[in-house]
């Protein structure tokens, strides 16, 4: 391989890396994951509390719940296999999750207090579960990033000592 064609290969690999690591696609799928999870929480709350609704309406909610679960599974699959998050991106995604679910829980509690309907406390409970998961994910992301930063410092010290 000539020098110029090897440089071209390097450039191609660099472009491939930049495209693959595009943060917009990653955060887009994080947003999809959160939106579908919150949609599932609302639909599950409706099915659990609105028992007086006509059968066809309940069926429609159930179908929507299946669709929401499918989107949830798809977003999880993409984030796991195609757009795995790097340590810093995991922290951003964790913060997004905590913010989204907190707003959802606060909104559900507020609406529950104002309207007095049973739907909202149940939705707040589902949202609360998601908020706990989001906090755990954020904590894990910080732990992973801290471990990597500590290893980076250690390696820099070892390399410095050898030179």
């Amino acid at each position: 391989m000539t020098d110029s064609s090897f440089v071209t290969l390097q450039q191609e690999l660099q472009q491939l890396t930049t495209r693959t690591l595009s943060p917009s696609a990653r955060y887009g799928h994080v947003a999809l994951l959160l939106a579908s999870a919150l949609m599932c929480a609302v639909l599950a709350s409706l099915l659990a509390t609105e028992t007086a609704l006509p059968g066809r309406t309940q069926l429609a909610f159930a179908v929507l719940l299946v669709i929401g679960t499918s989107w949830l599974a798809y977003a999880l699959w993409v984030l796991r296999s195609r757009h795995s998050l790097l340590a810093n991106q995991r922290i951003v995604a964790g913060r997004m999750a905590v913010a989204f679910t907190s707003v959802f829980v606060a909104g559900a509690l507020l609406l529950g207090a104002v309207t007095g309907r049973a739907l909202f406390p149940v939705a707040a409970a589902f949202g609360g579960s998601l908020l706990v998961l989001a906090c755990l994910a954020l904590q894990q992301a910080h732990r992973r990033a801290d471990a990597l930063r500590a290893r980076r410092s250690e390696l820099e010290r070892m390399i410095g000592a050898q030179s």
Binding site: M1, E12, L13, T20, I159
Partner: protein, 188 residues
């Protein structure tokens, strides 16, 4: 007792750690460090520049996607070559139907013997290596050209270390037969 890691090994690990943290500049460094060994390995397996280039990109894409899930950054080298091995085997088997021959008869290969003139030894080795069956060519490439230790080759190829040793022994024997003129040996 294992010896302490050398400076270049520490530097390799540092680049991987920085990539896992999400430092974009570190990915350029990762490409600079690993594109040449990856391409060299691909070329030895594929034997064709365009295919090696195509495979290098395929492997790189898989590696970048999987990098956040690599638990031990110090294991990047065997991990990368492991991806390359699986990727190349899949592609070569499916697209080009190249036989991965495990039962090559060393005597039959004697017919392909190459002149081992001292001046042409390097070229003869290259040609001999290219003429070897895929598995033997791969293990010699990893051991001699990429300087992977036996344990890492075992990880890359997903075979026990003992099998790596026997495959290396067999590969060296085949290569010797390809490089050295067998008629000269018969005369002794």
């Amino acid at each position: 007792m294992t010896s302490p890691p050398e400076r270049h090994e520490l530097a390799d690990e540092l680049v991987v750690v920085r990539c896992q943290l999400g430092e974009s500049a570190a990915f350029d460094e990762l490409v600079r460090r690993w594109s040449a060994p990856l391409y060299r390995y691909a070329l030895k397996l594929a034997g064709e520049a365009e295919l090696a280039r195509d495979l290098s990109q395929d492997v790189w894409l898989r590696a970048i996607r999987g990098l956040p899930r690599l638990l031990d950054p110090a294991q990047f080298r065997p991990w990368l070559f492991g991806i390359a091995h699986r990727c190349f085997m899949d592609r070569l088997r499916s697209r080009y139907a190249i036989a991965v021959d495990n039962d090559t008869d060393p005597d039959a290969l004697g017919a392909l013997a190459i002149d081992a003139d001292e001046e042409l030894l390097h070229q003869s080795l290259e040609r001999g290596l290219a003429a070897l069956p895929l598995l033997e060519r791969e293990v010699l490439t990893l051991f001699y050209l990429e300087s992977l230790p036996l344990a890492e080759i075992s990880t890359v190829l997903q075979i026990p270390t003992g099998t790596v040793k026997s495959r290396l022994f067999r590969a060296r024997k085949l290569l010797r037969q390809l490089v050295v003129n067998p008629e000269q040996e018969d005369d002794r």
